[in-house]
């Protein structure tokens, strides 16, 4: 009888959902977009994903073994980082590029800070930005969709930045992913299926993605054309990595604010920076830089949006 008395500290009631389970479910929610990527760009996309995930997992395992810490490879966070990195790469990159990016993501983006929960920046985006700065040629050469023979082509966003109207690409093409781009960002429909799953299960809240996308849409409508209030905001929302970034990378628990108020500030900031980079910056796409810059601002947002203790 005495053995049945357990003495433990609060909280005494908790959900069965663990970090591990959430990580694997987020990975699962990314599967439709990956399948769409393979369908659109061919088997090269599958190779990029496999290499990035394998390199991320091996790096995490090796670093934790070398530093004699608990091996937490099976918690799914390294798999998720590798997969997100692959989703941010074009489908026909050389085989070493996803490997180098994933090693950098895990080693410099995550383990240097102490592992899961300690990192300041989203590891997958750290890897992507590193690759972008080091090998811009490979990172901006995109395959034409549905052709499977490595015909390169400019992204719709590059055309939008240059102020050209989008030719030959309808909104439906953008929505279904029939356009050049990175593996996981093109098929908005598949991304929305995964995002709906995460929202319905309440693993992510609507605050960051909606404020991010709304801000981007509004600002690109106002400033996106030569005259005010004439921008092609639908194309701005549907092209580039905005939907992928807003639902799956800006909402990373570790690197985004804790309170809903803070998350709104975070999303609006991301949208603002994205539009500024897209319309006036040197790069055609600004989603990854926007999220990373706001990651850096997250501790400050948390400090100013801390809930007031009742009565104080």
């Amino acid at each position: 009888m005495r053995d049945n008395l357990l003495v433990s500290t609060s909280p005494h009631l908790h959900k069965k959902e663990s970090v591990k389970m959430i990580m694997w479910l987020v990975t699962l929610s990314l599967v439709p977009s990956g399948l769409a990527g393979i369908f659109i760009f061919g088997l090269g996309a599958l190779w990029v994903m496999a290499l990035a995930v394998a390199a991320a997992v091996i790096t995490e395992f090796a670093l934790q073994a070398v530093t004699r810490r608990k091996i937490t490879v099976l918690d799914g966070s390294a798999v998720l980082t590798g997969l997100l990195l692959a989703y941010n790469l074009p489908a026909d990159v050389p085989f070493w590029l996803p490997v180098v990016g994933a090693v950098f993501s895990i080693a410099i983006g995550k383990q240097v800070f102490g592992g899961l929960g300690q990192n300041i920046f989203n590891p997958a985006l750290v890897g992507r930005v590193f690759l972008m700065a080091s090998w811009p040629k490979y990172m901006t050469t995109f395959v034409k969709p549905m052709s499977y023979d490595a015909v390169t082509s400019a992204t719709p966003l590059a055309a939008l930045t240059e102020g050209k109207a989008l030719e030959n690409i309808s909104y439906l093409d953008l929505f279904l992913g029939n356009r050049p781009g990175c593996i996981g960002e093109v098929c908005i429909l598949a991304l929305l299926i995964g995002a709906a799953f995460l929202l319905l299960r309440k693993y992510i809240s609507w605050h960051i993605p909606f404020s991010y996308i709304f801000t981007t849409g509004l600002l690109s409508y106002v400033f996106g054309a030569k005259t005010l209030f004439a921008g092609d905001w639908i194309s701005h929302i549907l092209s580039g990595g905005l939907v992928l970034g807003a639902f799956f990378m800006a909402t990373d628990y570790v690197t985004s604010p804790l309170t809903y108020k803070g998350q709104l500030v975070f999303g609006i900031g991301c949208g603002l920076i994205t539009v500024v980079i897209r319309l006036w910056g040197g790069y055609p796409e600004g989603v990854s830089y926007a999220i990373l810059i706001m990651n850096a601002a997250t501790p400050m947002i948390d400090r100013y949006t801390r809930p007031r203790i009742y009565g104080s």
Binding site: V112, F130, A133, S134, W135, P136
Partner: protein, 197 residues
């Protein structure tokens, strides 16, 4: 003699300006894109350090405490000007690639820190050895960073190309590469116990 060696060696190990004191980061980050530039910068800074320490130490009882910093600046600026004109005359190539960073040695915080923390309170000989040690430590630090950045970023050592390829890590010769290399080397030196936590 033993204490002089100690004054010299502390600048290379425990109080290394780059990895221990984390001073003089501006030239360290800006000039470490190639080994040749880095060593040139290190030698120039060492020259200024040794002579400014010497003069400041010799004048330490004559400089009024309230205007000591302007006085140090005047002394340091004198040697920086000597150094700058010398490099311009004899090494015009180096002068061109280092550019503004040679005159900027005037405001290098290693030199101000050693003047304030050491030379103004110690006798001449220890001050010279302190300056020499700090200068060698700075040169070593910036040279190690430059070696890594040049090798990874442009595949060469001191301007001599090793590999004919275009797959180098471009980011290493850009500003983020400087900060990355620097941060990882500081972590490594602390892990190995070379510099203090």
């Amino acid at each position: 003699m033993k204490s002089l060696i100690k004054e010299f060696s502390k600048g290379i190990t425990v109080l290394n300006p780059t990895f221990g004191l984390i001073l003089g980061l501006c030239p360290t980050l800006a000039v470490s894109t190639s080994l040749f530039n880095a060593v040139g910068m290190g030698v120039a800074a060492t020259f200024v350090l040794v002579f400014s320490n010497l003069i400041i130490s010799a004048l330490r009882n004559f400089i009024p405490a309230r205007i000591r910093l302007p006085s140090y600046i005047v002394i340091i600026a004198t040697f920086v000007t000597v150094c700058e004109l010398g490099i311009k005359a004899y090494l015009p190539g180096l002068s061109k690639s280092l550019g503004i960073f040679i005159p900027l040695i005037v405001v290098n915080c290693i030199i101000m820190a050693r003047a304030e923390a050491f030379a103004s309170r110690n006798r001449i000989l220890p001050s010279i050895f302190d300056g020499l040690g700090m200068g060698v430590g700075f040169t070593l630090g910036i040279a190690i960073i430059a070696f890594i950045r040049e090798l990874l970023g442009s595949g060469s050592i001191a301007g001599i190309g090793l590999l004919k390829s275009n797959e180098f890590i471009l980011v290493m010769i850009l500003a983020p590469g400087a900060l990355l290399t620097m941060g990882l080397l500081i972590a490594l030196s602390r892990l190995m116990g070379l510099t203090k936590r």
